[in-house]
């Protein structure tokens, strides 16, 4: 559980024409397990979402005015390095055993439905077949699930032990493999 956020403001670096990526990576590597990173940037740092996602971080981004963004990176409930582990409820096509580590992490718990559905479907369109997406939601995505099945993606999901966070893993095009 992330309870402390380390601040990193990359706006001055960018304003001076610098490249903040190495500072960001350094800051991330220096984080303790219970720490997260609060990043302040003059634009929405979309490439970082994937980059840090691969290192097991999920994010919450919000615009704080005048084009500036605050992004909170915290370690996902499902660290990329760890096995996803048994989920409380397993449904959908396919079995997550033997699934590769998720290449995308998404935290959509604070997004209003149906935005998480749109984001998940859009992310899947950019992913290769067989790649896995992990997403945190604030409720069971009941309208998303049939659409995933219709599009041939395999998924499994369930509520975390806290009972309020729903975690779903989706494997792109996985249903074709499962059916084969």
């Amino acid at each position: 559980m992330t309870d402390i956020f380390v601040d990193l403001d990359v706006r001055p670096i960018l304003r001076d024409g610098g490249e903040p990526l190495s500072e960001i990576i350094q800051a991330v590597e220096a984080l303790a397990p219970h720490e997260g990173l609060r990043l302040l940037a003059p634009f929405k740092p979309v490439p970082l979402f994937q980059l840090l996602g691969n290192r097991g971080f999920s994010y919450e981004a919000r615009e704080i005015g005048e084009g500036d963004w605050e992004v909170l990176f915290h370690r996902s409930e499902a660290p990329a390095a760890a096995d996803p582990g048994p989920l409380p409820k397993t449904t959908g096509a396919g079995d997550a055993d033997g699934w590769p580590e998720p290449v995308r992490h998404m935290d959509s718990r604070d997004r209003e439905p149906p935005e998480p559905m749109v984001l998940i479907l859009a992310a899947l369109e950019t992913m290769e077949q067989g790649e896995v997406l992990s997403a945190l939601l604030c409720r069971e995505p009941i309208f998303l699930l049939p659409e995933l099945t219709k599009r041939g993606h395999a998924w499994r999901g369930g509520f975390e032990p806290d009972g309020t966070t729903y975690r779903i893993l989706v494997r792109n095009g996985g249903a074709h493999d499962a059916a084969a």
Binding site: T91, G92, D110, E112, P113, P114, M117, V118, I120, L121, A122, A123, L124, E125, C138, R139, E140, P141, I142, F143, L144, L145, P146, E147, T149, K150, T164
Partner: protein, 451 residues
Amino acid sequence: MTGVSLSRWTMSYFAVALAALVLGEALMLAGYGFPAAPVRAPQTLVLVHLIAIGWLSLLLCGALFQFVPVLVARNLHSDTLPLPALVLLVAGLGLLLCGFLQLAGTIAPTPSLLPYAATALAAGFAIVLYNLGRTLWAARPLPLPARFVAVGLAGLAATVTLGAIFSFAFAALLPSEALAAIAASGLPLHIIAGLGGWLTFVAMGVGYRLLAMFMLAPELDGLRPRTALWLGAGALAVAIVGGLALALLDISVFPALLASAVLGTVSLALYGADIVYLYRARKRRIIELNSQMAALALLSLATAAVLDAVLLALGLFFDQIGTLVFLLAFGWLGGLGLAKLYKIVAFLTWLECYGPVLGKQPTPRVQDLVVEARARKWFLLYYAAVWSGSVALAIAQPLLFRLAAGAMLVATIAIAAQLVRTRLLSDVAAGNRLPKGAHRPHLLISLAATG
């Protein structure tokens, strides 16, 4: 099967329901039924049942075919049964209204149509109950909002049964004295089971979930909502079972009603506290029109609950029952219904139309299907008219009441026009209205469910 598909006939139910509301408001504008006629006059029965069955019950049935599956995260037992149910309910309602017109002497009194009406309505509602009941049964243990719906369905069964007994009593076809005793003193039970049990309980349960969903508030469970559920269910049991027992013993049913009112008021107070909590705990700071307007419906419910207690204390309850029922039917249930329709129609239409291409093509957002600023003024007119109408009834000003009914009619037609525009995607910018692969929705049915 996991997840939930679109309910095919929900939009048809909504369309018939709105037509019934418009017709009912037109009758009130014309001065038909209460308050021009007495509360128990056949003309008032026409009006009351047009609203209670035609508008509110069909609205709730249509909504439940979609939202019971959402509440329990599993598909509706049958996506086909809602159609025969709708046909039977509309036919039954038509026969019922004609049966009341027979009592009013407007049309020829024989043969009495009421038993046929009761048979068709009972068959239609039985199909609805079977379909929703099977869906709920398969999903046990039920989450809290679905338990409210389950109690509401029991209320519907009780309402229809009592209504059928009355219909056969009017036609002098009752085979036993016991049923005749129920017919003689069961009217308050019929009203409580219908308005309190069926309509209000279901609206409470669906309200818990929809408000949480649309405002990003936590799902409620725990002692307070559970107590609200059990006290409310207890209130209904005391009124209906206790009332029936008293009626059969040929004693006044009033003590059962009083005990039920006390339990029901506490239940509503707890519900009110929960809803205030939901509004406060929401993560979404700026709420959409549907949640704003639902707040006005909840305010109407709170007003009616307070008024109910005050009138009982002053001994004026039976003088003002028309005012109370009007405020509950149009301010609370009707207002909540219109507010949630505004969101539900947009959401379901969006999902049906753009679901297949989400993520593949740029698509409009749900909010692009509506123009809230335009709809807001009609909603405000609606509530202002309902509250003026309630005051007009309370101070016995029939002309003022008809004016208020006229304003309600205008507002309802305007809101219905917004819903049609939403369904036809009229407010979506022409450029991205129908991306390649999107499914153009039909006004009255959702065919994407079969895809």
